[in-house]
């Protein structure tokens, strides 16, 4: 028999009391951990999109910002067009190092000519590209040939087929990009030449023709010369090139970020209320439990337990329950995030990536600490008060 065993027995043999504290701790840890996991996961997803683009600015047709964001984040096909001569206008602006055009296309929903039900297609210009080329370089010869495509991590060749069918044209999947848990995972990358060839052949091969407007492009990726401020370039483009919107990297996906911030605010308020409620419930449970156990604790004092031991005993019980509840809550969140990953992405309409291990470890530690401090705080006053009582007073009804 020792104090640790006494703590264990008190915790395991008082089911209701322990259960309430356990579930309070579970909530106290799971709610902030789950919310932070999702928001950090969303943030990590956005970061991946930004770094994959590898550009300082993304220039899109005016009014198409949200459509392009949705396409990049969720892989939801979007088409928007602007004149190709914008490329030349922007290339001539002082401070521009590189520009590269893109075509944004889509496969047909449910059409027999396309292997995938609905897929975002990005066509790029190999001559000017600076975002995919470095990655392709790691995969082999660094170029995509005619009728060759690069797929996001979820793009695959249909079973028992040798190629992917796009508007009736077979294309060979040369390689897959690493998983990003963003729209890029469902995106097909091909060269302009391949896209034009598929469009040309689609009139005879596909149920519906793929139309790529002549001398039109969907987006321009821009890399700045060193020392040029992105916001100055955004202002210059706004002044000198009409009908386009330049999105600065940090501001890129601004709409989604705004949604994320809005979501965070709501969550923060809800979280604060939930935290206060949980601390209050836990405090109440401890107060009631301490009162109910007054005589028992008085007996301990009479038998020779110093005040600090009674105080420590009550806090140790709280800590054990807090850690058990918090660990369960965190494990539950991780399990939900792992098994219902797609549902989270679907509901939030936002990319979601598990944060890097170091951040995840910090989040877990934070969740445990929040529960530990909250439950400890709730138990502190009742434990202190009961431990300060005279043994005879504590034992009196």
């Amino acid at each position: 028999m020792n104090l640790a065993r006494l703590v264990y027995r008190n915790v395991t043999r008082n089911g209701f009391r322990s259960g309430v504290v356990f579930f309070s701790a579970l909530l106290l840890a799971a709610v902030p951990f789950g919310v932070t996991l999702i928001t950090e996961g969303g943030r990590a997803g956005l970061q991946v999109v930004l770094s994959r683009l590898g550009a300082d600015l993304l220039i899109v047709p005016e009014g198409a910002e949200i459509k392009v964001e949705t396409a990049l984040l969720m892989g939801k096909p979007a088409q928007a067009w602007m004149p190709r001569q914008n490329l030349a206008k922007i290339r001539r602006l002082p401070g521009v190092a590189q520009v590269s055009p893109q075509l944004h296309l889509a496969t047909l929903a449910g059409a027999p000519c396309c292997s995938a039900p609905e897929m975002f297609i990005v066509a790029y210009d190999p001559a000017t590209d600076f975002t995919l080329r470095p990655w392709l370089g790691q995969q082999g010869d660094g170029v995509l040939g005619l009728d060759e495509v690069l797929g996001g991590s979820q793009v695959s060749v249909p079973k028992e087929k040798a190629n992917i069918l796009v508007y009736g044209s077979p294309v060979r999947l040369k390689a897959n990009l690493a998983r990003s848990d963003t729209g890029l995972d469902q995106t097909l990358f091909m060269t302009f030449q391949t896209a034009y060839e598929i469009a040309r052949m689609s009139s005879t091969r596909a149920a519906q023709e793929l139309v790529v407007p002549t001398n039109q492009i969907s987006a321009i990726l821009l890399k700045l010369q060193p020392g040029v401020a992105p916001k100055d370039m955004v202002a210059r483009i706004g002044r000198e090139v009409s009908g386009v919107t330049a999105l600065q990297s940090p501001e890129l996906l601004r709409g989604t970020r705004r949604e994320l911030t809005g979501l965070l605010r709501i969550i923060f308020v809800a979280l604060s209320l939930a935290w206060l409620l949980s601390v209050a419930v836990t405090g109440l449970v401890f107060s009631l439990a301490a009162h109910e156990r007054r005589r028992e604790l008085g007996v301990l004092r009479a038998l020779g337990s110093p005040r600090r031991v009674v105080f420590g005993l009550l806090l140790a019980e709280a800590v054990v329950l807090a850690l058990a509840g918090a660990a369960s809550g965190i494990a539950l969140c991780l399990a939900i995030a792992f098994w219902f990953h797609k549902a989270i992405v679907f509901v939030l309409e936002m990319p979601f990536l598990f944060p890097p291990p170091a951040l995840l470890a910090a989040l877990i530690a934070g969740g445990l600490l929040v529960a530990l401090l909250s439950v400890g705080l709730a138990a502190l006053v009742p434990a202190w008060r009961i431990s300060r009582m005279e043994p005879a007073s504590a034992m009196r009804e």
């Binding site: 028999m1 020792n2 006494l6 027995r9 038998l303 110093p306 005279e390 043994p391 034992m395």
Partner: protein, 227 residues
């Protein structure tokens, strides 16, 4: 051994009303005595026991054990004193419901620094044998009768081999047969181990040989006699 000097204990009832449980009481208890404190309900006998044991602080006066004022000691030393020198048997069920019989008997040991685990466990088993509960080592309190629970409490009160045994109406909820057995256990402990016993009991106090009887009324000792 114990010296109570002009001890008064007043309890607050509410904001303004107070009740005086013990009034300017002076008393000396000698080592090895068997003291029985009797009196009607509300006469202050339980408060007197609590004062002697250091379980409640006197409102006025001093409580000394071997010349040391108990209330000048810090909590740690006072607790150690109770743990080492005193054993307690209470009127109410005082076993911890989450612990087995054996664990309850061992409870006072956990407040001692580094006890020999095997030795104290053997001692606890012997004490449970002494009170006739050797077959109930792993029973929980709710599985024992009131009399059996009280006998476990007596075993617990002796685990640290105390010099003084404090008992507050230890037989009040028990039948006559069990009461006789419990009192016999106290007498046996007193005579065999030389333990000082201070026992509070109701007015029909049991016949105990060589006991010192203190009768209380309205917070004062009104009769101090020896049988």
């Amino acid at each position: 051994m114990f010296d109570l000097k002009q001890v008064t204990k007043i309890y607050p009832l509410d904001g303004t009303r107070r009740v005086t449980a013990v009034r300017e009481l002076s008393l000396s208890l000698k080592r090895g005595e068997f003291v029985v404190i009797t009196g009607r309900s509300g006469s202050g006998k339980t408060t007197l026991l609590n004062l002697i044991a250091g379980l409640t602080r006197p409102t006025a006066g001093r409580v000394e054990l071997d010349g040391v004022d108990l209330w000048t000691l810090p909590d740690r030393e006072q607790s150690a004193l109770r743990n080492w020198k005193m054993g307690f048997v209470f009127q109410f069920p005082s076993l911890l419901p989450s612990l087995t019989t054996l664990e309850n008997v061992l409870l006072p040991v956990i407040f001692r620094p580094a006890p020999d685990r095997n030795e104290v466990t053997d001692q606890a088993v012997k004490l449970l044998e002494m009170v006739g509960l050797a077959d109930k080592l792993n029973a929980l309190p709710r599985q024992l009768s009131a009399g059996q629970q009280q006998r476990v409490v007596i075993a617990r009160s002796l685990i640290n081999e105390p010099e003084i045994l404090m008992a507050d109406e230890p037989t009040s909820n028990l039948d006559n047969q069990t009461e006789r057995e419990i009192i016999a256990t106290f007498e046996k402990t007193h005579s065999l181990r030389g333990v000082t016993v201070v026992m509070v009991t109701h007015s029909r106090y049991p016949a105990i040989r060589k006991a010192r009887a203190l009768e209380m009324a309205e917070g004062r000792i009104v009769n101090d006699s020896r049988s």
